[in-house]
Subunit: 123 residues, 2 copies
DNA sequence: CCGCATCCTCTACGATACTG
DNA sequence: CAGTATCGTAGAGGATGCGG
Protein backbone atom coordinates (compact mmCIF):
# COMPACT_ATOMS: atom_id res chain seq x y z
CA UNK A 1 0.00 0.00 0.00
CA UNK A 2 2.96 2.33 0.63
CA UNK A 3 2.45 4.53 3.67
CA UNK A 4 1.48 8.17 3.63
CA UNK A 5 4.87 9.11 5.05
CA UNK A 6 6.61 7.33 2.18
CA UNK A 7 4.48 9.07 -0.42
CA UNK A 8 5.35 12.41 1.13
CA UNK A 9 9.00 11.43 1.09
CA UNK A 10 8.77 10.76 -2.63
CA UNK A 11 6.97 14.02 -3.24
CA UNK A 12 9.44 16.05 -1.22
CA UNK A 13 12.48 14.35 -2.66
CA UNK A 14 12.17 13.82 -6.43
CA UNK A 15 15.63 12.31 -6.61
CA UNK A 16 14.54 9.50 -4.31
CA UNK A 17 11.38 9.07 -6.37
CA UNK A 18 13.37 8.70 -9.57
CA UNK A 19 15.87 6.38 -7.88
CA UNK A 20 12.96 4.24 -6.73
CA UNK A 21 11.46 3.92 -10.17
CA UNK A 22 14.85 3.08 -11.67
CA UNK A 23 15.51 0.46 -9.01
CA UNK A 24 13.37 -2.15 -10.68
CA UNK A 25 14.53 -5.37 -12.24
CA UNK A 26 12.64 -4.96 -15.52
CA UNK A 27 13.91 -1.44 -15.91
CA UNK A 28 17.52 -2.39 -15.36
CA UNK A 29 17.27 -5.43 -17.60
CA UNK A 30 15.63 -3.45 -20.39
CA UNK A 31 18.10 -0.59 -20.19
CA UNK A 32 21.08 -2.94 -20.05
CA UNK A 33 19.75 -4.93 -23.00
CA UNK A 34 19.21 -1.86 -25.15
CA UNK A 35 22.44 -0.27 -24.06
CA UNK A 36 24.69 -3.25 -24.60
CA UNK A 37 23.23 -3.85 -28.03
CA UNK A 38 24.18 -0.37 -29.07
CA UNK A 39 21.55 0.58 -31.59
CA UNK A 40 17.80 0.23 -32.11
CA UNK A 41 16.13 -3.09 -31.40
CA UNK A 42 12.79 -4.49 -32.42
CA UNK A 43 10.32 -5.54 -29.77
CA UNK A 44 10.73 -9.27 -30.30
CA UNK A 45 14.47 -8.94 -30.28
CA UNK A 46 14.42 -7.34 -26.86
CA UNK A 47 12.05 -9.91 -25.49
CA UNK A 48 14.31 -12.70 -26.74
CA UNK A 49 17.24 -11.12 -24.92
CA UNK A 50 15.33 -11.16 -21.64
CA UNK A 51 14.17 -14.76 -21.38
CA UNK A 52 10.96 -15.19 -19.48
CA UNK A 53 9.77 -11.62 -19.43
CA UNK A 54 6.06 -11.44 -20.20
CA UNK A 55 4.96 -9.13 -23.00
CA UNK A 56 2.86 -7.28 -20.51
CA UNK A 57 5.79 -6.35 -18.33
CA UNK A 58 8.06 -5.65 -21.25
CA UNK A 59 5.56 -3.37 -22.93
CA UNK A 60 4.76 -1.67 -19.65
CA UNK A 61 8.42 -1.11 -18.86
CA UNK A 62 9.28 0.19 -22.33
CA UNK A 63 6.33 2.58 -22.19
CA UNK A 64 7.44 3.87 -18.83
CA UNK A 65 10.95 4.39 -20.11
CA UNK A 66 9.60 6.15 -23.16
CA UNK A 67 7.46 8.41 -21.01
CA UNK A 68 10.47 9.23 -18.85
CA UNK A 69 12.47 10.17 -21.90
CA UNK A 70 14.93 7.29 -21.62
CA UNK A 71 13.79 5.41 -24.70
CA UNK A 72 12.68 6.47 -28.15
CA UNK A 73 9.99 4.35 -29.78
CA UNK A 74 9.75 4.37 -33.56
CA UNK A 75 6.83 2.84 -35.41
CA UNK A 76 7.26 1.96 -39.06
CA UNK A 77 3.80 1.47 -40.49
CA UNK A 78 4.57 -1.47 -42.73
CA UNK A 79 2.61 -4.71 -42.75
CA UNK A 80 3.19 -6.16 -40.33
CA UNK A 81 4.11 -3.18 -38.22
CA UNK A 82 7.72 -2.69 -37.23
CA UNK A 83 8.54 -1.06 -33.92
CA UNK A 84 12.02 -0.08 -32.86
CA UNK A 85 13.32 0.96 -29.48
CA UNK A 86 16.54 2.75 -28.73
CA UNK A 87 18.03 4.62 -25.81
CA UNK A 88 17.92 8.40 -25.89
CA UNK A 89 20.99 10.31 -24.68
CA UNK A 90 19.30 10.41 -21.29
CA UNK A 91 18.83 6.66 -21.34
CA UNK A 92 22.41 6.18 -22.43
CA UNK A 93 23.51 8.13 -19.41
CA UNK A 94 21.60 5.76 -17.20
CA UNK A 95 23.01 2.79 -19.09
CA UNK A 96 26.51 4.07 -18.37
CA UNK A 97 25.72 3.69 -14.66
CA UNK A 98 23.67 0.52 -14.76
CA UNK A 99 26.20 -1.29 -16.89
CA UNK A 100 28.72 -0.67 -14.13
CA UNK A 101 26.33 -2.18 -11.63
CA UNK A 102 25.82 -5.14 -13.96
CA UNK A 103 29.56 -5.64 -14.34
CA UNK A 104 30.08 -5.28 -10.62
CA UNK A 105 27.39 -7.90 -10.05
CA UNK A 106 29.09 -10.24 -12.49
CA UNK A 107 32.41 -9.77 -10.75
CA UNK A 108 31.08 -10.18 -7.21
CA UNK A 109 28.79 -13.13 -7.77
CA UNK A 110 31.27 -15.54 -6.23
CA UNK A 111 31.84 -13.38 -3.18
CA UNK A 112 28.11 -13.04 -2.60
CA UNK A 113 27.57 -16.77 -2.97
CA UNK A 114 30.22 -17.44 -0.36
CA UNK A 115 28.67 -14.92 2.01
CA UNK A 116 25.30 -16.62 1.60
CA UNK A 117 26.76 -20.04 2.24
CA UNK A 118 28.48 -18.75 5.37
CA UNK A 119 25.31 -17.06 6.60
CA UNK A 120 23.14 -20.10 5.96
CA UNK A 121 25.63 -22.37 7.68
CA UNK A 122 26.00 -20.04 10.65
CA UNK A 123 22.32 -20.04 11.52
CA UNK B 1 4.63 -16.34 -10.77
CA UNK B 2 7.75 -15.57 -12.81
CA UNK B 3 7.95 -17.90 -15.75
CA UNK B 4 10.06 -21.03 -15.94
CA UNK B 5 12.17 -19.45 -18.66
CA UNK B 6 12.96 -16.52 -16.40
CA UNK B 7 13.96 -18.77 -13.52
CA UNK B 8 16.29 -20.65 -15.81
CA UNK B 9 17.71 -17.37 -17.00
CA UNK B 10 18.51 -16.42 -13.42
CA UNK B 11 20.05 -19.80 -12.74
CA UNK B 12 22.17 -19.75 -15.86
CA UNK B 13 23.27 -16.18 -15.44
CA UNK B 14 24.15 -15.38 -11.81
CA UNK B 15 25.14 -11.84 -12.72
CA UNK B 16 21.61 -11.14 -13.89
CA UNK B 17 20.25 -12.75 -10.76
CA UNK B 18 22.37 -10.52 -8.56
CA UNK B 19 21.50 -7.47 -10.64
CA UNK B 20 17.83 -8.31 -10.18
CA UNK B 21 18.06 -8.56 -6.42
CA UNK B 22 19.99 -5.31 -6.23
CA UNK B 23 17.46 -3.54 -8.44
CA UNK B 24 14.99 -3.03 -5.65
CA UNK B 25 13.97 0.26 -4.12
CA UNK B 26 14.41 -0.82 -0.49
CA UNK B 27 17.83 -2.20 -1.25
CA UNK B 28 19.02 0.95 -2.96
CA UNK B 29 17.53 3.19 -0.30
CA UNK B 30 19.08 1.17 2.52
CA UNK B 31 22.50 0.99 0.89
CA UNK B 32 22.47 4.69 0.03
CA UNK B 33 21.39 5.59 3.55
CA UNK B 34 24.12 3.52 5.18
CA UNK B 35 26.72 4.61 2.66
CA UNK B 36 26.07 8.32 2.82
CA UNK B 37 26.09 8.27 6.59
CA UNK B 38 29.57 6.83 6.54
CA UNK B 39 29.71 4.73 9.67
CA UNK B 40 27.50 2.37 11.65
CA UNK B 41 23.86 3.23 12.23
CA UNK B 42 21.32 1.91 14.68
CA UNK B 43 18.11 0.38 13.44
CA UNK B 44 15.87 3.28 14.40
CA UNK B 45 18.26 5.74 12.89
CA UNK B 46 18.08 4.02 9.52
CA UNK B 47 14.32 3.81 9.66
CA UNK B 48 14.10 7.53 10.41
CA UNK B 49 16.22 8.27 7.36
CA UNK B 50 13.84 6.35 5.13
CA UNK B 51 10.48 7.88 5.95
CA UNK B 52 7.58 5.52 5.53
CA UNK B 53 9.46 2.25 5.34
CA UNK B 54 7.75 -0.40 7.44
CA UNK B 55 9.85 -2.25 10.01
CA UNK B 56 9.00 -5.43 8.24
CA UNK B 57 10.52 -4.32 4.95
CA UNK B 58 13.47 -2.65 6.60
CA UNK B 59 14.32 -5.70 8.68
CA UNK B 60 13.82 -7.99 5.72
CA UNK B 61 16.02 -5.86 3.50
CA UNK B 62 18.79 -5.50 6.06
CA UNK B 63 18.76 -9.24 6.67
CA UNK B 64 19.03 -9.91 2.97
CA UNK B 65 21.93 -7.49 2.67
CA UNK B 66 23.60 -9.10 5.66
CA UNK B 67 23.16 -12.53 4.14
CA UNK B 68 24.64 -11.32 0.87
CA UNK B 69 27.67 -9.97 2.68
CA UNK B 70 26.91 -6.31 1.98
CA UNK B 71 26.08 -5.32 5.54
CA UNK B 72 27.54 -6.23 8.93
CA UNK B 73 25.10 -6.46 11.80
CA UNK B 74 26.45 -5.99 15.31
CA UNK B 75 24.41 -6.75 18.39
CA UNK B 76 25.45 -5.20 21.69
CA UNK B 77 23.65 -7.12 24.46
CA UNK B 78 22.87 -4.20 26.69
CA UNK B 79 19.42 -3.36 28.04
CA UNK B 80 17.76 -2.39 25.88
CA UNK B 81 19.60 -4.13 23.10
CA UNK B 82 21.65 -2.06 20.70
CA UNK B 83 21.99 -3.16 17.09
CA UNK B 84 24.27 -1.48 14.61
CA UNK B 85 24.45 -1.84 10.86
CA UNK B 86 27.30 -0.85 8.62
CA UNK B 87 28.38 -1.54 5.07
CA UNK B 88 31.07 -4.14 4.52
CA UNK B 89 33.74 -3.43 1.90
CA UNK B 90 31.53 -5.31 -0.54
CA UNK B 91 28.58 -3.12 0.35
CA UNK B 92 30.72 -0.03 0.06
CA UNK B 93 31.61 -1.08 -3.46
CA UNK B 94 27.93 -1.26 -4.29
CA UNK B 95 27.34 2.08 -2.62
CA UNK B 96 30.00 3.61 -4.83
CA UNK B 97 27.86 2.64 -7.82
CA UNK B 98 24.42 3.32 -6.38
CA UNK B 99 25.40 6.74 -5.12
CA UNK B 100 26.25 7.63 -8.69
CA UNK B 101 22.82 6.50 -9.78
CA UNK B 102 21.29 8.53 -6.96
CA UNK B 103 23.25 11.62 -7.97
CA UNK B 104 22.37 11.10 -11.60
CA UNK B 105 18.71 10.83 -10.62
CA UNK B 106 18.95 14.06 -8.65
CA UNK B 107 20.55 15.81 -11.58
CA UNK B 108 18.12 14.52 -14.21
CA UNK B 109 14.88 14.95 -12.30
CA UNK B 110 13.98 18.07 -14.23
CA UNK B 111 14.70 16.51 -17.58
CA UNK B 112 12.57 13.49 -16.73
CA UNK B 113 9.71 15.66 -15.53
CA UNK B 114 9.75 17.56 -18.79
CA UNK B 115 9.75 14.34 -20.78
CA UNK B 116 6.75 13.12 -18.81
CA UNK B 117 4.87 16.35 -19.34
CA UNK B 118 5.58 16.18 -23.06
CA UNK B 119 4.48 12.55 -23.25
CA UNK B 120 1.31 13.14 -21.28
CA UNK B 121 0.42 16.15 -23.39
CA UNK B 122 1.15 14.31 -26.62
CA UNK B 123 -1.31 11.52 -25.95
C1' DC C 1 4.41 -8.23 -35.51
C1' DC C 2 3.16 -5.52 -31.84
C1' DG C 3 0.50 -4.95 -28.13
C1' DC C 4 -3.99 -3.90 -25.64
C1' DA C 5 -7.83 -5.88 -22.69
C1' DT C 6 -9.36 -9.20 -19.59
C1' DC C 7 -9.10 -12.14 -15.94
C1' DC C 8 -6.99 -14.36 -12.31
C1' DT C 9 -3.24 -15.69 -9.24
C1' DC C 10 0.22 -14.81 -6.04
C1' DT C 11 3.21 -12.25 -3.26
C1' DA C 12 4.99 -8.02 -1.64
C1' DC C 13 3.92 -5.19 1.63
C1' DG C 14 1.51 -2.74 5.51
C1' DA C 15 -1.06 -2.89 10.01
C1' DT C 16 -1.26 -4.67 14.33
C1' DA C 17 -0.03 -7.04 18.31
C1' DC C 18 3.39 -9.42 21.21
C1' DT C 19 8.40 -10.46 23.22
C1' DG C 20 13.46 -10.37 25.25
C1' DC D 1 15.05 -0.95 21.24
C1' DA D 2 14.78 -4.12 17.90
C1' DG D 3 12.75 -7.12 16.50
C1' DT D 4 9.13 -11.74 15.45
C1' DA D 5 4.48 -13.47 14.32
C1' DT D 6 0.16 -13.15 12.17
C1' DC D 7 -3.12 -11.54 9.15
C1' DG D 8 -5.26 -8.83 5.38
C1' DT D 9 -5.01 -6.42 1.09
C1' DA D 10 -3.52 -3.92 -3.06
C1' DG D 11 -1.15 -4.40 -6.80
C1' DA D 12 2.50 -6.85 -9.46
C1' DG D 13 2.60 -9.80 -12.82
C1' DG D 14 1.27 -14.11 -15.84
C1' DA D 15 -2.00 -16.47 -19.18
C1' DT D 16 -4.98 -16.02 -22.79
C1' DG D 17 -7.28 -14.18 -26.58
C1' DC D 18 -8.38 -10.39 -29.94
C1' DG D 19 -7.26 -6.63 -33.23
C1' DG D 20 -4.74 -3.32 -36.53
Amino acid sequence: MTTKAYEEYLRDCPAVALLSTISNRWVSLAVCTLGSHGDAMRYNHISREIPGVSQKMLTQTLRMLERDGMVRRTVTPSVPVRVDYELTPLGQGLYGLLSQVRDWAAEKTGEVDEARARYDAGV
